[in-house]
Amino acid sequence: MSREKEIWVLCEIRGNELLEVGLELIGKAASMSHGREWSVCAVLLGHDSALYAEKVFAAGADVVIPMCCEKEAMPPEYIAAERLYQILKDNRPFALLIGAGVYGRTLAPLLAALLKTGLTADCTELSIENDLLVQTRPAFGGTLMAEVICPEGRPQMASVRPGAFPLPTLKRERHGTVRQEPCSSEISRSGIQILGKKAFSSKESLLKADIILAGGAGLGKEGFKKLREIGDKANCSIGASRSAVNLGLAPYSAQIGQTGVIVRPKFYIAIGISGSVQHLVGIRNAGAVMAVNPDPRAPIFRYADIGVVSGWKEFLPKLEDALSSLY
């Protein structure tokens, strides 16, 4: 059966949870397939994938392809890439969509190079025009948007940012078929071995944080100490600008911006951060943004919903008091 009318979506299962971006992409693929008689095939990576089939069908998939043997956890990227390559090389779908997390952004180019096809990273928009997938992505810190096409390579591959597309409404009455593809558990290269893993506490993981307090270089050691105290008491995550990280005031994992983490909190407070383009890229998708800076002309105010012209020395202690009085 030819796959040229299939859009494949890779779904990752982590920590007994199907990553939302997988569902977002299924929803998008389904809406693109409307009126075209195409089918959406969801590849599930991770163990007990069969458990998630229902949800995936409800999101709009027509076919579910479990990629792993029963109890296997998510395979490392290169193994996943090689398995998918074996499955796809002789029968290629129209397109393949992957969520652009660290995993997806590594798996995708490995697979694209194996398949010898085109890949566009970090797409924020997808559409179909003249039977081609048009992939839109930001470049240069997000100041430019580029539309990319892949006229000849198949599948047309795209990695997509989480949250670029909305979560589809789940229609529980939808059904589909489970298709088993031969799962080769042979690993051609066993050169990589995991030695250890240190999971971030839910506070440290900026990506999932709903409240982020971020500090700039101007806070110095004292300011960051105060920021962390407030973060601990109020259970908020702490972020930092690149200059603050360069000065050793915060670890690299706390860096927010183009060369750090791109965050999507409900509430983001930038304290003593001037607001370079690189930083803005990191906070664009935040819900509400408050900027606190002693310089009223600081660029950060352009990207904030609420501005307070003040230094951290005045703002943070007052915030600490205000929060204490609430508990």
Binding site: T106, P109, L110, G118, D122, V134, Y252, T259, S276, E314
Partner: protein
């Protein structure tokens, strides 16, 4: 250890910072520089060279003007400098770029280790490193924040940063490893290092030396094509200014609200 480092020349947009103490805005003119993550790759290469001995080869594919990043690389410890430039290689997507780089590395190798930055600040795809590993037929590990000696010879230990964790791996060489930006403190070069770097010649590779099929390089060798570029509408918001008291109150309320919805979800 033979280490190759792939470096890219990008437009230098340093963060504009306002120091509360001195209010000096350093406003350098637009200039080209080494991609920040590639600087980490070079620093890491120097560190590994100090531990294991060997040589560092810096490779860049670009216009003839990209030679300046090779001079930077020499300053940061590179012993051999390759400039890969040819009009036929221009307008390449990440696949065609990786292809040309892999051919150069195959021709001038073998290398025990290929280091790249995890992504460039202009394209930000992060694709060249992994594509290179497939084309070279070696293992790949991305998003690293540390590389260390392993107790087994022929292996390296590396630490990887993901959204939710820090993971350590042992990886066999040869391999392609991509590194995150800004994780290594760079020291200033000494006068002696500057003198040494000034003497390292740049070796150029065009297609005359590489003999690559024209349909595999540059625009012809690219699977993807940019069909349109537009200026994006910026992320600007309407800022409402509040006094210190009002601002603190608003912040505390927002935090409370978020925490309440945390509990209810």
């Amino acid at each position: 250890m033979e280490i190759a480092v792939c470096v890219k020349q990008v437009i230098d947009t340093k963060e504009i910072t306002l120091d509360e103490n001195n209010n000096i805005i350093r406003r350098d003119g637009m200039s080209m520089s080494v991609n920040p993550a590639d600087r980490t790759a070079l620093s890491m290469a120097t560190r590994l060279k100090r531990q294991f001995g060997g040589r560092i080869t810096a490779v860049t594919m670009g216009t003839p003007g990209s030679v300046s990043v090779l001079h930077e690389a020499a300053l940061m410890g590179a012993n051999v400098l390759y400039l890969v430039t040819d009009p036929a290689f221009a307008s390449a997507d990440t696949y065609a770029t990786a292809f040309v780089l892999s051919e150069v590395l195959k021709k001038t190798g073998p290398f025990d280790l290929v280091l790249c930055g995890r992504k460039a600040v202009d394209g930000e795809t992060g694709q060249v490193g992994p594509s290179l590993s497939v084309m070279l037929g070696v293992d790949c590990m991305t998003n690293l924040i540390d590389i260390e000696e392993s107790d087994c010879p022929g292996f390296l230990n590396c630490t990887r940063l993901t959204e939710t964790s820090e993971e350590t791996y042992r990886i066999t060489l040869p391999a392609v490893l991509t590194l995150c930006e800004g994780i290594l403190l760079e020291s200033r070069p000494s006068i002696a290092a500057l003198r040494r770097a000034a003497k390292i010649p740049v070796i150029s590779f065009s297609n005359q030396e590489l003999h690559l099929p024209l349909q595999s390089v540059g625009m012809k060798g690219s699977w993807t094509r940019v069909r349109k570029v537009s200026v994006s509408s910026g992320g600007d918001r309407e800022c409402r200014f509040l006094s210190l008291e009002e601002g603190v109150k608003a912040a505390a309320e927002m935090i409370e609200q978020c925490k309440e919805s945390r509990q209810s979800s």
